[in-house]
Symmetry: C2
Subunit: 337 residues, 2 copies
C-alpha cells in the first residue's frame, strides 16, 4: 500500500493539512511554516518514497495538468513533429500529455477517443490531422473543454484551428512549376474528398487558370498521401506523353513518383519535374533531393499548446509555408515542346 499524506502526518506528529501545504509548497497568508517542520516533512516524504496521488488531487481541485492529443489511427509522418512542439511547451508548464487514437473515417472510433480524453478532465484537447463528423463535433463543443485542431483547417467557425493554408500550398506548388516553364502539370496522391485535398486542388486549379492553362481532369490522380500512391500515380502518368511536371500531394507521394519514374527510365528532373508538399526530413534523404512546399509543423504544435494553456479564447490562425529547394525541378524553355 502506497504511502499517503496521512502516514507522513502521523509519523511527523502533525496534521495532514500541514503535510499537504508543505509538500505542495503553498504559501499561507501568513509567512509560513517553521523551517524545521518543513525539512522534517520533506525528509520523511523522501524516506517513505512518497508519491502524490494525482487522482485525489484532480478530484478535489477539479483541474488537471493534462493535455489530450487525438491522433489519426494512421499517424502521418509529420505528426511526430507537431507532437514534439506540443511536448516542448507542455513540459515547460509541467503538463502531461495523454494520447488517444481516432479513426479518420470511423465515427465510432472518433467518439471513443473523444470520450476517453474528455473523461480525464483534461485542460485542453489538441486534434491532429482529423476532421470530426457532425455528431462528434457537437459532442466536443458540448464538452466544455477548450480544444483546437492542428494541421487541418476546419470549415466551421467554432472549430478553431492552426494549420497551413492549403489553398496557398496547392497554388504555390503549381505556380513554382509554372514559373519554371512547365504547363503540363499533374496533381497526384492527394485525398481529394478531404478538406485538405480539396483546397490544394483548388489552389492548383487557380494557379493554372491564372496562367491561362487549361485544366485537364486526367492530370489529377487522387490517392491517400502515401508512398504507394506515388507509385500508382506514376504508372498512370506514363501514359500521358506531354506531361512535364508533377505536384505530389505529400513528400511520400513524391518519393513514390520519383522511384517509379526511375524504374521506368525517366530521368528526374530533366524528363519530369516533381514538387512535394510538407518539407519533411525525407526531402534530403531521397534522390534527387526533393523540392517541396514546407509547412511549419513544429510551430503548429507550439502555438496550439500555448493557446490551450493560457486559457484565453482560442482563435484560428495559419502558419507560414515556404518553398524548400531540392533538385527535383528543372527549368523548361518553351521551344523544347
Amino acid at each position: 500500500m502506497a504511502t499517503t499524506i496521512k502516514d507522513i502526518a502521523r509519523i511527523a506528529g502533525v496534521s495532514p493539512s500541514t503535510v499537504s501545504r508543505i509538500l505542495s509548497n503553498k504559501k499561507t497568508l501568513s509567512s509560513g511554516y517553521a523551517p524545521e517542520t518543513i525539512s522534517k516533512i520533506n525528509q520523511i516524504a523522501k524516506d517513505l518514497n512518497y508519491r502524490k496521488n494525482r487522482s485525489a488531487i484532480e478530484l478535489v481541485t477539479k483541474t488537471s495538468q493534462v493535455l489530450g492529443i487525438i491522433l489519426p489511427a494512421s499517424p502521418t509522418n509529420f505528426a511526430q513533429e507537431i507532437i514534439a512542439g506540443i511536448q516542448k511547451v507542455a513540459s515547460l508548464h509541467d503538463i502531461d500529455v495523454i494520447i488517444a487514437y481516432a479513426g479518420e473515417d470511423s465515427e465510432l472510433l472518433q467518439m471513443q477517443a473523444l470520450k476517453t480524453i474528455s473523461e480525464r478532465s483534461v485542460r485542453g484537447i489538441l486534434l491532429l490531422g482529423i476532421t470530426l463528423s457532425a455528431t462528434n463535433a457537437q459532442f466536443l463543443r458540448a464538452s466544455d473543454i477548450p480544444y483546437i485542431f492542428l494541421s487541418v483547417a476546419q470549415p466551421e467557425p467554432d472549430l478553431p484551428f492552426i494549420a497551413s493554408n492549403d489553398f496557398d500550398i496547392g497554388y504555390q506548388a503549381t505556380n513554382y512549376l509554372i514559373m519554371h516553364g512547365h504547363r503540363e502539370i499533374a496533381f497526384v496522391g492527394a485525398d481529394i474528398p478531404s478538406c485538405v485535398g480539396q483546397l490544394r486542388l483548388d489552389g492548383y486549379r487557380q494557379a493554372l487558370k491564372d496562367h491561362q492553362i487549361a485544366y485537364r481532369a486526367d492530370y489529377v490522380i487522387p490517392g491517400n498521401w502515401l508512398y504507394e500512391d506515388g507509385i500508382q500515380a506514376m504508372n498512370m502518368l506514363e501514359k500521358l506523353p506531354h506531361l512535364t511536371a508533377v505536384v505530389a500531394g505529400s513528400d511520400l507521394v513524391a518519393a513514390g513518383v520519383i522511384n517509379r519514374a526511375r524504374q521506368l527510365h525517366h530521368h528526374i528532373p530533366s524528363d519530369l519535374s516533381i514538387i512535394g508538399i510538407d518539407g519533411t526530413a525525407l526531402c534530403d534523404i531521397i534522390y534527387p533531393q526533393l523540392t517541396s512546399i514546407q509547412q511549419s509543423f513544429y510551430e503548429m504544435g507550439v502555438k496550439g499548446t500555448e493557446q490551450l494553456i493560457r486559457q484565453a479564447n482560442i482563435t484560428s490562425s495559419y502558419t507560414p509555408i515556404c518553398t524548400k529547394k531540392g533538385g527535383s525541378v528543372a527549368t523548361r524553355n518553351k521551344q523544347n515542346e
Copy 2:
C-alpha cells in the same frame, strides 16, 4: 459544472449507487435492475451529457486504466512503430496511454518523466529506447509499478525487456556481407558507448573473427544513428581505398552513406555495398533500395503491452530479426581484389 452521478440520481429519483451500478453495468449478485430503471437512467445520462470522472473512479478503485510510455527526448523513427503496437493492444483492453519524454542523457529529465508517470498510478510503464541511470532504476524498482523496457536490452536481471538481440544484429549484418564476398567492412554510425551500440559492435567483431578477418579500428566510425552521421562517415570512408562494404548502424545512417557516396561518384552497390539496420519503411524509399536487418518493432510494442496488462510476472525476451533484401549489396568475387 459538470453533471455527476448524484444529479442523475436526483432527477431519476433513485440513489447514486443505483446510477453507478447501472452506468458501469455491474451485475449484482441477483439478476439485476428493472429494465425500465436502466433505460431511464441511461436516457437521463445521455440528456445531461454525463461523463464519468476518471479521477474519482481511480481514487476509489485504486486501479487505473492507463499505461505510461517513456520516450527518449529525440524519438527515433522506429518508436512510432512500437507505439502503434502498444496502442493496438491497449485499445483492445480499453486502456489509455500517457506519454512522457525523458532525456537519454539527462538524469534529471529521466527522473521527471518517471515521477510524472508514477504519480498517475498507472497500470504499467513501458520504457522505449532508453537506459536508466542507477538512481533512476532504483526509483523505478521502488515504485511498485510493473514496468518493461522496449527495444534496448538491459544488463541487470531485474530490469525486464523486450528487444532484438543486438549482438546477433551486428553479427548477422556483417556475416551477410562476408557471405557476399566482402572482407573489408566498415561499421559506422552506431552510438558505441550505448549498450546497443556496444553489442552490435561485438557482433560485428565476432563475425569478422569467425572468418579470420582482422579487426581494424579505423573501420569503425561511431555516430548517433543519424542521417548526418552517415554523411560524415562516408567522408571518412573515402580515404580507405580497400573498403568494399559498410554496416550502417541504422537505416538512416545507411541513407546518409548512400547519398554521400553518390555525390562522391561512388556507385552503390558495385563500388560499395551497404547494409542497414532496422528495416524501416525507409528501406524502400531510398535508392537503391536498402538491404537491412529488420527488427520486429511492432511486435515489441504488442508483447510488452500484453505482459503489463495481464499482471503475470514479467520476463525478458528477444524478438526475431530477419534480413530484408534490397539492392544495396553486391556479390564480390575474390579475384576482383
